[in-house]
Amino acid sequence: MSNLNMTPADTRHLLSAEQMARFVTDGFLLLDAFVPRHLNEKVHEEQRTNGQGHTFWETSAAIRDVFELPEVQGIIQSLVGLRPVYDHSFLHIVPDRYPVAQDWHGDSIIDVRPHAFDIQLFYFSHDAPPEMGPTLILPGSHLRKINTFSLARYKNIIGQRQLAGKAGTLAILHHGIWHCAQPNATDRTRYVFKLRLRPGQEQRGLFNLEGYDSPEVRRIIGQGYQRWQGNEDRLDHMQRAKLWRYVTGDDNVDVSFEGALTRMGI
């Protein structure tokens, strides 16, 4: 059985409006050392002894315990609901002293859903400092339409950042975010387990909605500009304002550039 068992989350484990605004703006959340040490050690041991790409989810005794933690379930429920659909998972392994980086890409193919999104959870069972090659992402790129490796000739982009962290770090990514694996300059193997989940319902009002139109939320979305977005940065702002309407379930809330959604009657 591939699907993830879900238990309704306590409100305190749901994403706050501010956290959700950050996800909508940046396309990811990075939770450093989020998973408890005893689980990290069990998973890492299994990865070292029996870690295989597509089958790890089925064969590991401990990996599901990570994603059934109430704190993790609350995050998943906030983004894709209580009945998420298992899409796929993979244990990515980068050998020690591996010098080649992956090209920039978006996973799967270009997505035609106007607002709905899958999430990809990246879990590091061991310390993953930058020199070990944790995944490189481009914050704020998740709503830009590209198709798989159509951006592969880019090499370096202002604002790129690695998902570096201590053991137990969990990154939650919008499916559309630009990313690539990085070289491993250490003498240790780098593992990251990826789980992709689709929504099992409309993604409206799934997080803790308290304060979803607050000044702080408006600040996060309104000031979430990235230098690399250049002249298009106001359009990126429009994209996240439209996504905010979808995830809040409020088709009138307007956090767009200069209130353009309201001004243009969108």
Binding site: A101, Y154, K155, N156, I158, Q162, W228, G230, K242
Partner: protein, 95 residues
């Protein structure tokens, strides 16, 4: 007479102005040996030039300038690839 090979530099700018800041860059070095490591993703955080004009002053020739974007009705707010991409070239001698 020295043999030369092409180096291609992509510079992506914030606007179509050739003086505007570089926000992304990549180098493909045709003079490097086949087994040499080319520019990797994520291997630098500072662009090699501040703008296309800076690169021109350093001897790079502009091969291609981007067509200015157009905005079809209904897709005015869509975003995608980096639109202001300049292709530059220089020839270097090989040993």
């Amino acid at each position: 007479m020295n043999e030369t090979r092409q180096q291609i530099l992509f510079l992506n700018l914030t606007t179509p102005d050739l003086k505007s800041p570089v926000i992304a860059w990549s180098l493909y070095d045709g003079a490097a040996p086949a087994d040499a490591l080319q520019m990797n993703t994520g291997d630098a955080s500072v662009p090699p030039y501040a703008s296309v004009l800076h690169a021109m002053r350093d001897g790079w020739n502009v091969l291609q300038v981007p067509v200015l974007p157009h905005y079809p009705a209904g897709q005015e707010h869509d975003t995608g690839h980096l639109p202001y991409e300049y292709v530059l070239e220089r020839k270097v001698a090989i040993a």
